[in-house]
Symmetry: C2
């Protein structure tokens, strides 16, 4: 089983009961295909083989579905990045691990990642503020690894916050272009990107 | 006048008459805000201060508007990349110029770039094939610079097609996160990214 398949399987396990999970998966598909604003709760219920009334038992509004997807998606991203940041190994090893696992998530779960990344503006103000907090923590995890590498002398990073942004941005955009029918597996993209990012930050440049 | 302001000003000059240009700008705003599928031609006409009947004089369908936006946007991207690839200077200088100008375009015209990049699937089959040809030419321009740098000994790039993809992807994602109220100007992001990309490909790594 590849890392990507593991990521697929474990994606929505935390959502119970089964009907609530099916609705969430249907919402991800509908939002990814047509966009949040073009999707109705009726579309989502229909896709899950349920009635609109059955949907309202689990989710009061369409925005609540988006918030749930976004919170779970960002929570997963944060766990990936923090577990790499706080893991064993040198700063280079931890940065490579962060990039590899973050890329594999964005490739393997690219529909979820697109919804999570592109529909941020559709969240209500309170939910948006909550998600932005999670995003700040994601930034902080990467910044921590870069700072450790600068301190240990492994890295040479003149602009730590700009480079943090670039590293995360590079990984996130995988969700836009990744194609399951394409030439590269999620694991292969993860390896390539870990190598490119290490080059970005390595000491001893020309 | 900054590079970004020049990019803004020259954006839709090629579209005439004035009413057709106003409709195109209104469509970019509406698609960027709510997504292609959630936008009607009535919304677009209203935003441009025109009647739906007046819209149909210039564009037969909503898809025709998206195609026009996408063709102009991709044409502009291609001119930027080819003019850097075919310009004077070493491979390093040309790669830096390609990244700087491509980033400035994605930051300065981030609404257009989002529509162009995220609504590709909404194009009809024939229009989509035409745009994919333009995208292949964009790839080829960057690949050409990387190949030149490998040949001259400036660059060490084990995976030229993967690195081409990563360089373009890094620049394109600027359209997602760039915020005109943020800390960095388009020109500053362009400088930072040119430096990071040169590090990705430079010889003489650790």
């Amino acid at each position: 089983m590849s890392t990507a398949e593991r990521a697929e399987g474990a994606a929505w396990d935390e959502v119970t009961p089964d009907a609530a999970r099916r609705l969430l998966v249907a919402a991800v598909e509908a939002f990814a295909e047509r966009g949040y604003h073009a999707t109705t709760t009726r579309d989502i219920a229909g896709r899950a083989g349920m009635s609109p009334a059955a949907l309202y038992i689990h989710y009061k509004t369409k925005e609540e579905l988006l918030h749930r997807i976004s919170a779970i998606g960002h929570g997963k991203a944060l766990r990936i990045l923090e577990s790499a940041a706080d893991g064993p190994g040198t700063a280079s090893e931890r940065l490579a691990e962060a990039v590899r696992t973050f890329v594999v998530w964005h490739a393997g779960r690219h529909m979820t990642a697109r919804v999570v990344q592109y529909e941020l503006d559709a969240l209500g103000a309170e939910h948006r503020a909550e998600i932005i907090q999670l995003r700040r923590k994601c930034d902080a995890a990467v910044r921590r690894i870069l700072g450790d590498g600068v301190q240990s002398g492994e890295f040479d990073v003149p602009d730590v916050s700009g480079t943090t942004l670039a590293v995360l941005s590079l990984c996130i955009d995988v969700a836009r272009w990744f194609n399951v029918a394409g030439r590269r597996t999620p694991d292969e993209v993860g390896e390539l990107y870990a190598d490119l990012v290490l080059r970005m930050v390595a000491r001893n440049q020309q």
